[in-house]
């Protein structure tokens, strides 16, 4: 059950503090691109992220914006225009969009391939 502190349950209305902050400026857009994997820097996605995620700047930012625009069927201008910001503000899943680069770990020892890959 939800807890209500007002007898008339007026606190059922979501508090402004609980509203997600809209992405409206360059800094927020940079964070968005980084968080969802568009900046080329893999978004922190582990139990103990160390420090804030790296944010794209300059040419890297424009390229990240272009990638995001292309995926969202927007003109790939690299500019943070209104349509791009609107796309960033659409409700979305929190899992990053882009796959990370392959791990640089040494190759695994020879053995049977994973079941799921070898099944068919």
């Amino acid at each position: 059950e939800s807890l209500f502190h007002s007898r008339d349950r007026s606190d059922l209305e979501p508090s402004p503090l609980r509203q997600a902050k809209p992405i409206a400026d360059l800094h927020a857009a940079q964070r968005f691109l980084s968080r969802y994997g568009w900046s080329g820097v893999w978004a922190a996605w582990g139990p103990s992220p160390e420090g804030p995620p790296e944010t794209p700047k300059g040419a890297a930012l424009a390229e990240a914006v272009r990638r995001f625009q292309r995926a969202n069927a927007l003109p790939a201008s690299g500019e943070l225009d209104a349509a791009t910001l609107a796309a960033m503000n659409r409700p979305r899943c929190g899992v990053p969009d882009m796959r990370p680069p392959p791990p640089s770990a040494p190759p695994s020892p020879p053995g049977p391939p994973p079941r799921a890959r070898s099944r068919r």
């Binding site: 939800s2 996605w45 068919r120």
Partner: protein, 425 residues
């Protein structure tokens, strides 16, 4: 948050699973357990609604994969494969805080857990407002199973929530993506057949249409040949869809269809049932008042029981009954087995490639109106019988020859079992 996420965190409930790029790509077992955490339920939907919606979301994936999903309320938390919970802001010991109402509504850990942002307005699938919990749950389960985001139109794995009509389904790309990880559904069938029905079109003309059905154990699927997939929401229990016939392990179906006769029979054990197409139920008695089911040996003299399978050949007006390595050709006009029968199946239906033949104990034989061909099923394989068109193109093919075997799952897609607990969803 009033949900005391810290207490969960202290209990050591940390996200399991792999960030993308981690080791495992897919679960290595076929039955996965899930639990909606009692200490992290939605504040907006009833517990029953939440469980029902999540169970349906799991079932939707099991309809297209060889995976089964089972709600587990008893096992220790660590033994449950997929745990789901609602939380706000910093939640459930998760390092990824939610952002409040709007934007991020859920996230999931591959091969791990699913978190929903309880600041969002989640609604049941019948609602046309808010964010459909079913749709979000299906999406997040896709992540847990190993699928990344895609921007392909129609895919449930698009990162953004797209408000659409309440009904949605996994599309072709979702099915193929998950089957790359877990393979396709394989399995044998007790019987398969095309069900003929007559409908009037807009001009009042009678049109003959057909639907393909697959029966396995106590379940059946309707196969949409046009879309090359099963009907959404199948399998269904035989008990529900075919009143009056045995509820499981049907041996054969035969539709005797001539200018004078239009009779449909189901066979099981040493008995057979006649099915009334108009009333959509098995007949309890015949025109003479004799009750169904009847003995196969009475209605079809000379035919052994139990049968492996049977089908009706309209051109020859013969029913072919199969039993072990033998086939019996039954003349429906004279109501007796042809003199030269029984014969070996290999004699009547010879292999086009030597030794590539089911030989005996066929699971099902059926005439497909979609392919104008007879098919034999055994295990997870099928053999197509040479038809007139094949003979015209390659005159050397033997009459009624069997083309080499292929996998059923390569021709009829996604005929998948679901966990029995979700059968009636």
């Amino acid at each position: 948050s009033p949900r005391a996420p810290l207490s969960l965190s202290r209990r050591g409930w940390q996200p399991r699973g792999y960030p993308d790029g981690g080791a495992a790509q897919a679960f290595s077992k076929r039955t996965l357990s899930w639990r909606l955490l009692g200490e992290a339920l939605s504040s907006q939907l009833s517990v029953a609604d939440q469980r029902r919606i999540v169970a349906l979301a799991f079932r939707m994936w099991s309809e297209v994969t060889p995976l089964d999903f089972r709600e587990d309320l008893a096992a220790p938390g660590a033994a449950v494969d997929i745990k789901l919970g609602f939380g706000r802001g910093r939640h459930l010991g998760c390092p990824r805080a939610f952002d409040g109402s709007g934007q991020e509504f859920a996230h999931a850990w591959r091969l791990g857990d699913i978190h929903f942002d309880d600041d969002e307005h989640f609604t049941p699938p019948t609602s046309d407002t808010g964010i459909s919990l079913l749709k979000v749950a299906v999406h997040e389960i896709g992540h847990v199973l190993g699928l990344p985001h895609t921007y392909r139109t129609g895919s449930i794995m698009q990162p953004n929530y797209i408000p659409q009509e309440p009904a949605f389904e996994l599309d072709w790309s979702d099915r193929k993506a998950i089957q790359k990880l877990y393979g396709s559904c394989e399995g044998s069938f007790d019987t398969a057949f095309d069900w003929i029905r007559k409908e009037r079109n807009q001009y009042g003309e009678v049109m003959v249409r057909f639907s393909t059905y697959f029966f396995r154990n106590s379940w059946y699927w309707l196969y949409e040949n046009r879309n090359n997939r099963t009907r959404y929401g199948d399998p269904i229990q035989i008990l529900t869809g075919w009143p009056g016939i045995p509820t499981h392990n049907i041996d054969a179906f035969v539709h005797i269809w001539t200018w004078k006769r239009d009779e449909r029979y189901f066979f099981q054990g040493n008995q057979y049932w006649r099915y009334d197409s108009d009333k959509d139920q098995a007949l309890t008695e015949d025109e003479q008042g004799k009750s169904y089911p009847k003995l196969i040996s009475e209605g079809f003299p000379g035919i052994p029981s139990p049968l492996d399978t049977a089908f009706y050949d309209r051109r020859q007006k013969l029913i072919y009954f199969f039993k072990e390595s033998l086939v019996f050709a039954f003349d429906v006009n004279r109501n007796r087995v042809l003199n030269s029968y029984p014969k070996r199946i290999t004699e009547v239906f010879p292999a086009v490639i030597p030794q590539n033949h089911p030989f005996r104990n066929i699971d099902s034989a059926y005439y497909s109106y979609a392919y104008n061909s007879i098919f034999f099923f055994k295990g997870n394989a099928y053999w197509k019988v040479v038809n007139d068109k094949d003979k015209q193109q390659n005159s050397w093919l033997p009459a009624n020859g069997l083309f080499p075997k292929k996998f059923i799952s390569e021709k009829w897609f996604d005929v998948c079992d679901v966990h029995i607990s979700t059968l009636n969803m």
